[in-house]
């Protein structure tokens, strides 16, 4: 790989992207004032958003940027992740202030926990940002493991039986899974070190390096290692049957965190799989990893279809829907054509937006109704017209109805499934999607419409609606139009996935 000299501005930008959340964590820890820490978080995540947008434009210009002697490295693929993380992070922080404020008013959290929440929030952002920024796969693994640890702390924020249970399961399962991923990483590293003895131990784990040497890897070793990677990161990404922690954790976390978990964290793990998928495709061709991805993806969609249909808890339902969408993304990556991968990356972004919208609105809803049980919620549109409308839009979008954005990416994915000859898999996916549609649609309609069970005061306009309105707007727009820079970014990224070409 060529070490292009990068302007100091860019390297400062990348460093500060990582430093901002840390600094804000420190500020939060020091200040400990309820009113300010939320604002600090909003400001810092806004700064992150601006920085990452700037970074995206640099990426579009330069294609690949690596600083700090190749430790930090971004290309378009990381760009897709960064934009997702920072956008959802910003919106989530915006929502957090109102949500956690209400929880505080209801005495569900005290000031200490509030501080811990914002510390965790910022650290969570940091760890997630580290994933796409790091070139070294070992560091990437550490970052992903760190996201687990931070988010476990966030999930057990309310010390309740169910949240402890969820965090324990999350911790154990994710850690076991990630250990498998580390195992796989070790084998890739080994394969790399065998093929090129001149490497020092730190460069040997660089992704750029591995891609370059990939054609020298031993095929059966790559297969062996990729299975571990797939199962390992797949656990974290919520791909069935390793997804079992996901519904528990996502449903027990505070809603803004659920949005981050579902919308972003899962994608980080998918990102991990993608990186190794590229290496393995370069080494042994993409057929092997594609097959595995399709099998597990279809399985995920099927499992979540069954679970969504009978679900009784709103947030669990949304969590299973995340399993479904991770399945779709993995199937899409498995289809392997450029359109499919384009669709997969677009789907990552779309799903992040829609799912955060759903978690935000369902958070407000369950706060208002004081329950998460689907059967106890009805007539939302009567009691909370604005939030109910947002929830409805989100729900319709997530089940793949046009003119919302998910429809477009699913359309791309399925059509490329057919054109790449994966008829069986695509047909299965469509079949399961119809079941999911039925299940999710059933719950959605029963919740949004009908007569509210209790007499409740109508919702007033408050700040929590703002992030939702932004998201609804984005969902609508992206349903029929992909902004040009984003399109370029995703196109480049999908070319990277397909060709493994680092440079243009």
């Amino acid at each position: 790989m060529l070490t292009e000299t990068v302007s100091p501005a860019i390297s400062i930008l990348m460093m500060s992207l990582l430093l901002t959340p840390i600094i804000s964590t420190i500020i939060v820890t020091l200040l400990k004032i309820k009113r300010i820490i939320g604002v600090v978080t909003i400001i810092s995540s806004l700064i992150i958003l601006i920085q990452s947008l700037l970074l995206i434009f640099f990426i579009l210009d330069k294609k690949t940027i690596s600083v700090l002697d190749g430790v930090l490295y971004v290309d378009s693929l990381s760009g897709v992740m960064i934009i997702t993380i920072s956008t959802v992070g910003f919106l989530s922080s915006l929502y957090s202030v109102n949500y956690m404020g209400k929880q505080y008013d209801k005495l569900l959290v005290d000031e200490k926990k509030l501080v811990r929440y914002y510390q965790g929030f910022n650290m969570f952002l940091f760890t997630m940002l580290l994933v796409p920024l790091s070139n070294n796969l070992g560091i990437m693994w550490i970052a992903i493991e760190a996201t687990t640890l931070v988010s476990v702390l966030l999930i057990m924020l309310y010390v309740k039986q169910s949240s402890i249970e969820a965090s324990w399961k999350y911790l154990m399962i994710a850690t076991v899974g990630l250990s498998l991923a580390l195992f796989g990483t070790i084998f890739f590293y080994y394969a790399n070190s065998v093929s090129d003895r001149s490497l020092d131990s730190i460069k040997g784990m660089d992704w750029t390096n591995m891609v370059e040497n990939a054609h020298n890897f031993d095929p059966s070793l790559v297969k062996f290692a990729f299975i571990f990677i797939l199962v390992g990161f797949g656990t974290k990404a919520g791909i069935a049957p390793m997804h079992t922690w996901l519904p528990d954790a996502h449903s027990e976390a505070p809603s803004p965190i659920s949005a981050l978990l579902s919308g972003v964290l899962l994608n980080c793990a998918i990102y991990g799989i993608l990186r190794f998928h590229i290496i393995s495709s370069q080494s042994i061709g993409s057929e092997f990893s594609n097959t595995l991805l399709i099998i597990l993806g279809v399985f995920s969609i099927g499992i979540s279809a069954a679970s969504i249909y009978f679900q009784k808890d709103v947030k669990r339902m949304l969590a299973f829907s995340s399993v479904e969408h991770m399945g779709i993304i993995s199937v899409a990556i498995g289809f392997g054509s450029i359109i499919a991968i384009y669709g997969a990356l677009l789907h990552i972004i779309n799903h992040a937006f829609v799912k955060s919208l759903l978690f935000f609105s369902s958070g407000s809803i369950s706060q208002k109704y004081q329950t998460k049980s689907i059967s106890d919620i009805s007539g939302i549109i009567r009691i909370m017209p604005i939030t109910g409308f947002m929830f409805l839009i989100g729900g319709l979008a997530i089940i793949g109805l046009p003119p919302f954005n998910i429809f477009m990416s699913e359309f791309l994915i399925l059509s490329s499934g057919f054109s790449s000859g994966n008829f069986l898999a695509s047909t299965f996916v469509i079949f399961f999607l119809i079941i999911i549609f039925a299940g999710f649609g059933k719950h959605l309609v029963k919740m949004v419409f009908g007569n509210p069970k209790l007499e409740m005061i109508k919702e007033n306009w408050d700040i929590s609606v703002i992030p939702m309105i932004i998201l609804v707007f984005v969902i609508f727009v992206m349903g029929i139009y992909v902004p040009d820079p984003l399109q370029l970014l995703i196109e480049d990224a999908s070319r990277i996935v397909l060709v493994g070409e680092v440079n243009h």
Binding site: F228, V231, I434, F437, K442, V482
Partner: protein, 673 residues
Amino acid sequence: MYGIFVLFSLGAVIGLFTRGHKNNVYFTYIPAIIASFLTIVLSFLILFSEPIQVNLFNILHLFNFEILIDGVSAFFLFLIGLISFAVSIYSLSYSKKLDDKKNNSSLGLFFNIFIISMILVIISNDVFFFLIFWELMSLISFFLVIFEHENKNNVNSGLTYLVMTHFGTGVIFLSFLLLYSHTGSFSFDSFRDIGLVPQHIKDIVFVLVFVGFGTKAGIVPLHIWLPKAHPSAPSNVSALMSAVMLKIPIYGIIRYLFDFNSIDTQDYVWWGIGMMVVGSISALVGVLYALIENDIKRALAFSSIENIGIIFIGLGLSVVFASFNLMSLSIISFVAAMFHTLNHSIFKGLLFMAAGSIHYSTHTTNIDDLGGLIKKMPWTALMFLVGSIAITGLPPLNGFISEWLTFQSLISIFQIPSSIFQVVLAFTILVFALTIGLVVATFVKLFGIAFLSNGQSSKVTDATEVPRFMLVGKSILALLCVLFGILPFIGLNFIVQAFDLSYIPLNPFEPISIKNTSGDNFASLMMPAAIIIFISVFAGVFVFVRIIGGKTKTTKYGTWDCGFGSSSERTRYTATSLTEPIRRIFGVFYKPRDNIEHEFYSEENKYLKKTSSVYSITRNIFDELLYEKVTMSCLSVLDKIRRIHTGKINAYILYIMITLLALLAFTGFGING
């Protein structure tokens, strides 16, 4: 053209923003009226000039938003424009029923978007946008179905609708993707060079297209949503749904059958036969359930299934004839199907609007609660009668013409050069005839029980004639029923022009004639002359009777009550008892059961009955046997699958381990050294 969209959206938006204003209704529907009128104009313009093809914009270099309005689209545009024109006028008064102003404006919003989406489906020339608008149409109509969502039944029927229609969309999607995988482009233009696609793919695609669009059209057994959804919507929307939305899938099927494919070999015979079989079953089952239904709107919805069945019989025949290269017959049956499509839109729109008027005045659609409305609402009664006569296919209204054509093309199956097909297809005649007989019974029942005799419930006695806009809306369609019946050449020429058929346009003073293979006149029909005969006979008879009878007296007196002197409401025939004989004959479809309850003067003496009441219960075998069983078995499988979430962390980690080992084994890892 863009004016249409602008106006509809204007209607949608203004209505939303002027909610609470007392003229809100006018703001909402007047743009819609103008826009639908423009749609009609547009469709005529297209007919008499070149098709319009505009490329608007492009997404991702894959999806072109391209508009193509050719004759086929123009025909359906005309349909949409016509019905929405009448329905919009009707809605001016109808939606005043809703006292909640806010709801009213959202109804207007959805109403307008619904029409826009249907137009967009018809004119888009790209898979992606076709599907987007298709789903938009379904979604909006779903919102309209659950518009009165306080009623739990409405929500449930809306859900059934949503799920079924999405199933249909999924299947359509599949079919398009299959085509796409062979043509490599999402534009319909590429699908038109379908010659490259192998026959077995075409066959699969046909099945998918038929099932997918058929679900939306309500073919049996995929129809169960229809009788639930259509009655749940507000009546102006039911009119649109039944009259127009059901035709959009017909459009899709026609696109595939006749635009993308060119049917010329016997490979396609089974397509046609399949459509005919399904069409016949739909027609029969639809009308059988319409017959026993006591809710007007549900009965009308079932009758829509029947009419869709008849349309499919026509289309299927057309395919069969075409595949045997009997082009002129194929054209006749195609024209029959299309004319029936047009006619069904007109009279079903009319009937639903009339049903809406009944609901407007009496707040019920159950005919057993009604009776004697003809005296309270004479104009509505007249319109309903016109609609009924038209839908039963009796002369001189339009239904007769299309059913005449359909039957003529059915008779012509003896020209098919294959005995087996002839015998098989001839059975369609039986079903078709039975259907026609049952339709008569259905509408005698609906009209007779609801409008005739003398109702005494407060619902009826308080009823008044509906406001004038509602009458105007209905009378437009009623007049068209008469017009297309008496002067069928207008409609037929329109169809010939729209579909560019090599069928000689008709002269108003020539009979519609069908020639057989040797060129002889096989059958002919000349409605204007028949009407002249009818009217002159009427005049003659009138004069004759006057002459020989002279002037006689007419006395009004009570109905003969066998001398008991109490001809009350309770001695009337009810809707259920009216259809009792038929219900017994077709018991297999209804599984009727009579519950008899007695009330005694005293419990000890069971011989002195105070009252006896009989309730007849009928069941829908499709709901109960087919759908319940299928869904229950599917769901129980799903239920078993989801139970893998046992809550035990050990199990969860075991899954991970098993997956790992299974994948290792799957890759045959152990084999290679």
